[in-house]
């Protein structure tokens, strides 16, 4: 991998970060004349003058008393100290703390979803490609059309209805004590897994089929390549051709797909979290939206974009690592 290429990519990622940062800062402010008024709507029992005073106090408290541009500078300065400002919630917790508190709970869902989808999907996809044209393959093909048309939140509703309410096997709503009582003991982990079962299953059904389909197509595309024919012609065993030649070369699209899905790790489960009342980033964002909590919303959006930028960077660098000749950026 060329060093200059890596540095170029990193500098470009930083540039994108600042563009996104600026957009994140200004878009939520588009329709808002006075943030203080949004935060503290006019009350009936308050006179004009009293309301002005309340607004003034609010402005000073949250740093709205300077011009928008100065606020922007302050925000960027704060970023260097990993400070995303304070939330409007009672007690004014720091946005960073709120995100740090909820992040692990979202990761529990999204990482296990990714791992499960990838592992099972790879196996299914390879089997389908191996048994090309037979029932395993056609089943996968039909399932993949069906799974796109069945949104994950619909599957989640059905699962929570059947397993949560009818059979009462799994909790349909997350136990709120799960988060507050968590202490890394075996019991606590068991409770988390018990509560996370339905959300993870409903998310990973689509994921498994998606990765399986991708793997199958990729493997078949590689099988059609001449070098596989060469390997077969040399008299290598089927098994050896599959594992040593085909699968290894078929991994590139899968690696890209995984890299791309990394950006969805944080924000990909908003609806699922909402259905199961899971206390993750998605529900945090919805709460922030309901209370007009702009610093919190901006913080979460910036966090998600940063993850996406890093994921894209990772994909690009992995590409050039897989083949040093591909210096993607210079090809443009």
């Amino acid at each position: 991998m060329k060093k200059s290429f890596v540095i170029k990519r990193i500098i470009y990622a930083i540039f994108i970060f600042f563009v996104v940062l600026t957009l994140n800062f200004f878009i939520p402010r588009l329709g808002v004349d006075d943030p203080a008024e949004r935060y503290y709507p006019p009350q009936g029992n308050m006179s004009e003058i009293e309301y002005e005073i309340v607004k003034q106090v609010t402005r000073e408290q949250y740093g709205f008393d300077v011009s928008t541009f100065e606020q922007y500078i302050n925000y960027v300065e704060g970023l260097f100290n990993f400070d995303l400002g304070v939330s409007f919630q009672s007690g004014n917790p720091r946005v960073v703390d709120l995100i740090a508190e909820r992040l692990p709970w979202t990761l529990v869902l999204s990482v296990s979803n990714l791992v499960i989808s990838l592992c099972i999907g790879l196996v299914f996809g390879t089997i389908a490609a191996w048994k090309r044209g037979r029932w395993q393959d056609t089943t996968l093909l039909n399932l993949s059309t069906i799974s796109v048309a069945l949104p994950a939140f619909f599957i989640a509703l059905i699962l929570s209805f059947y397993f949560g309410f009818e059979l009462e096997l799994f909790p349909a709503y997350t136990n709120p004590n799960m988060v507050s009582n968590f202490d890394w003991s075996f019991e606590a982990i068991k409770v988390v897994l018990y509560n996370a079962a339905l959300p993870i299953i409903s998310m990973s059904i689509g994921g498994i089929i998606g990765y399986a389909q991708r793997t199958r197509n990729s493997v078949i595309a590689v099988t059609n390549e001449d070098f596989i024919l060469t390997a077969r012609a040399k008299g290598l065993s089927q098994r050896r051709v599959l594992f040593k030649h085909t699968l290894r070369n078929a991994m590139l699209p899968i690696v890209t797909a995984v890299g791309m899905s990394l950006s969805g790790l944080i924000g990909g489960a908003v609806v699922i979290e909402q259905i199961f009342n899971w206390n993750g980033m998605g529900t945090l964002f919805l709460e922030a939206n309901n209370t007009n909590d702009y610093p919190l919303m901006m913080g979460i959006m910036l966090f998600m974009s940063t993850i996406a930028i890093l994921a894209n960077l990772l994909v690009e660098l992995t590409y050039s690592l897989l083949d040093p000749r591909i210096t993607v950026g210079e090809k443009r």
Partner: protein, 331 residues
Amino acid sequence: MKKIGLKVKDFFLGILEFIKKIWQHPKGKIGLIFICFLFVLAIFAPIIAPYNPYDVTERAAKGLSPSWEHLLGTTITTGQDIFSMLIYGTRVSLLVGLITGIAIAFLGAILGIIAGYIGGMADNLIMRIVDVMLVIPTLPLTIVITNLFGKSYFIIVLIFVVFGWTGLARVIRSLVLVLKNSNYVKAAELAGASRWHIMTKHILPGVSHLLIMNTALTCAGIMVAEAGLSFLGLGDPTAISWGKMLADAQSGGALLFGHWWWIIAPGIGIFIAVFSFMRIGLVMEEILNPRMKASSNIFKLFKTLNNTYIQEVFDKMDENSLNDEVAKGEI
């Protein structure tokens, strides 16, 4: 005038011909039937629906189970007829899906062709915008914008279009880059054709198969996304949509009281709409581009996108594996 009339006639005849081809395709028939069925439901909803789904005053008929009078029962909270709601829900899904799909096709085609063919500054600018768009989290931004400008399907379509064109533009651009170096485009350039002429007469027809197929698939994807947004309560609160029906069912206690039909019904609506559009998209692709018949379209899109890179990797690995084998003395 006569010429324009002829052109319009040709256009409609062409579309008819195309629909006939889809109909004759073994997989296309079912998709076409479903889509026609949905369109009929959407257009004649007031005639077909047995009750007025907006009527929330039926206090006596709350939470009824399916019967001949109410085919899918009534809602627990307001006593609306679920079957009528299901029929009216077709309207929002089709409207949002089609408008967004067509708008994305236009925007993606224009920007993709400009980026690919003209290149230089324009290409740089468009691709940098794509890079930024790709990392902005769409759902949170949608939530913020609907919060600021009010909840309506107009805003939702606008956001879908603004954030949806990037993928298509990328794919079109990479295809245009290939076409640009083809002999017939080179010949047209040498003959002194203007850029505009080449872009509309030579490049556009070359990417049209991708566009048409992509529009059908985008429609399908947007319908799912719309259902998700409506489910989160970001759609027009007064309209009836399948996503909102699901949200109502969840908050209205359908799960608790075991009214499974209230959940299944909108789900099947979403399923049929998305499934038929996807089917049509895949069939269109097979008709327009018979060379790519073998594998599924998602991979094909991906492959067109990264065709050059993948090809290079394969070539390289081909060389490598051969060299390895030679070095090991296996050949």
